[in-house]
Symmetry: C2
Subunit: 335 residues, 2 copies
């Protein structure tokens, strides 16, 4: 029960292996009669192209690695799904790789772990501290996260989104806005989301208060947001809003506030980031920044295909927008 080869098909159809190859590749230099005979033989013996053989000749694999920190987090799951579906029509299959943490992520992008793919789409979790000493061996496009000058980046509207959401809170009369972030403990806040938040504060003449900054453990799990918010409540800080770094953290924070007897949004407004499906069903439903994933994925795929085709311009940055999705958790009136 050996897997049939081109030669086997050719023997059945009465032509050479090369002619069968030409038919499989859709070449025109094959007569219609031969083509039909070959296709019949292909069906008869159940032939399937062996991509190893083809790849050996072409030097291409037809595969793209998508590197995400995890996939149980709705944000990355949705991203991964969109990427898989966007790559498919271009003839690429997707190797999904789970890698999180600086070293593992960089290895997944730069190391031997992703050999045998034509390119990499990298969705970072932490800001990678890559000093540029290692060059990627194949085209890399980074999707989200803090941009680096080492490869192409699609930068989501982090700054604009955080700024707009903070402005929304300020305009609703909130003044003491807590930040529930996901940096490792001891870390300083940073990144474009943080900068966007600061910009809005400055624009409204509100002073920044570091006592209102709290970070969960290094996972952006719901439980981490819960812990972080519990910590903030215990610290005795007073605040009337919580800008959470993403929806998962916000969901955890919502629960902590509820447990603590605080009403959302009357006592504290809560907002998230990513606009995951889940936010529509929380109690109260969650205001969030929607990052236009579709647009991001489109850009990432287009840039990667350019690179694979041999485009050699220096690394680019594409910036996408962000939209506010306002729901009950940040309105003054309860839903």
């Amino acid at each position: 029960m050996r897997r049939p080869t081109l030669a086997d098909v050719g023997a059945v159809a009465g032509v050479s292996a090369k002619t069968v190859s030409n038919v499989m590749l859709g070449r025109r230099e094959v007569s219609e009669a031969t083509r039909l005979a070959v296709l019949a033989a292909v069906a008869e013996v159940g032939y399937e192209v062996n991509l190893a053989g083809r790849g050996l000749v072409s030097g291409q694999t037809g595969r793209i690695a998508v590197v995400v920190p995890n996939v149980y987090q709705p944000y990355f799951a949705e991203l991964a799904e969109r990427l898989i579906l966007a790559l498919e029509p271009h003839g690429y299959t997707t190797m999904l790789r789970i890698a999180n943490g600086g070293a593992a992520e960089l290895d997944a992008v730069l190391g031997a772990a992703v050999s045998n793919v034509d390119g990499v789409i990298y969705c970072p979790h932490f800001r990678p501290d890559h000093d540029g000493s290692l060059q990627p061996r194949r085209p890399v496009v980074q999707l989200g996260g803090a941009p680096t000058p080492h490869w192409d980046c699609v930068v989501m509207g982090e700054f604009a989104g955080a700024e707009a959401m903070t402005r929304h809170l300020l305009e609703s009369g909130r003044r003491r806005i807590a930040l529930v972030w996901n940096s490792s403990p001891g870390d300083k806040p940073g990144g474009d989301r943080f900068e966007g938040h600061l910009a809005a504060l400055r624009a409204h003449g509100v002073e920044r208060d570091d006592a209102l900054f709290v970070a969960g453990s290094d996972w952006d799990r719901r439980a981490s947001g819960y812990e972080a918010m519990v910590g903030l409540l215990r610290s005795g800080a007073s605040f009337d809003a919580a800008l959470c770094v993403n929806d998962a953290i916000a969901v955890g924070a919502l629960r902590a506030l509820r447990r603590h007897g605080l009403r959302v949004p009357q006592d504290v407004a809560v907002t998230g980031f990513d606009n995951t499906d889940e936010g529509e069903f929380t109690v109260p439903s969650l205001s969030s920044v929607s990052p236009r994933q579709e647009e991001m994925v489109e850009h990432a795929v287009a840039m990667l295909l350019d690179r694979i085709a041999g485009d050699a311009v220096p690394p680019r940055e594409v910036h996408t927008g962000a939209d506010l999705v306002l729901r009950a958790s940040s309105r003054l009136q309860p839903s």
Copy 2:
């Protein structure tokens, strides 16, 4: 800038390509001195094994296709992540394929779409109506869903889980248990979960009432559970519990009940299935059947590896257990 080959490494190390190959494969018939020299040369030229070449010789690809209906649904996302991580230590990389709906799913399992992998792990969405006329061309293990006699199946504790949860509801004094299912409209309920539910009803002498069966659209999205529950409420049926076919549906149902002014669990107990992370953070937190995913994934991977190794016994069925995770949504006392 051609990609270096075994011969290139050999030229640097002063040995033949074959010896380099032996080093890469970890063969013992290489002296320690040669081994070190080769490894140094590998690092120097940045050599990476070309899997196309290796695959051509070995006839293996080192890849497994994981077919899921979607990945934005936490149940499948968690499953996919576990599978990827479980396959990695065995030297396999995962091609994640998104396929939903009977035809697309079967094609993804049987058709040419998954050629060039060593095996397939298939997580079905609908019960596949496969008549067995098409034989899979490579080892297939089905993970979850209704078992078929056509390939190996890991059957989660659907019957046991649904029975236990229904029993729990009955023992808490609930008598009119609505079923919020995910079959297409017009479909009859079915499957082991349904049977498990019926068994528990029978055991308690409670009669089944088809007016309490409601199905969302064919997606197990949260929104679908919302719609389904709205429909049930509009129908005027009276019920004191809702056994939802999965957590996503349950989350939607919770929202619909809340909107309608019904209290959970005081007026209506709500339960889900899958025990996704999200259920811990809903309001109220969600009772759910936990399917022991870890165990399922373990079995699936083990069975697939057996098959790939050439195990030719007839298709097997492995049944895994299920655990009740009881939270506020099905307790009589509010949390």
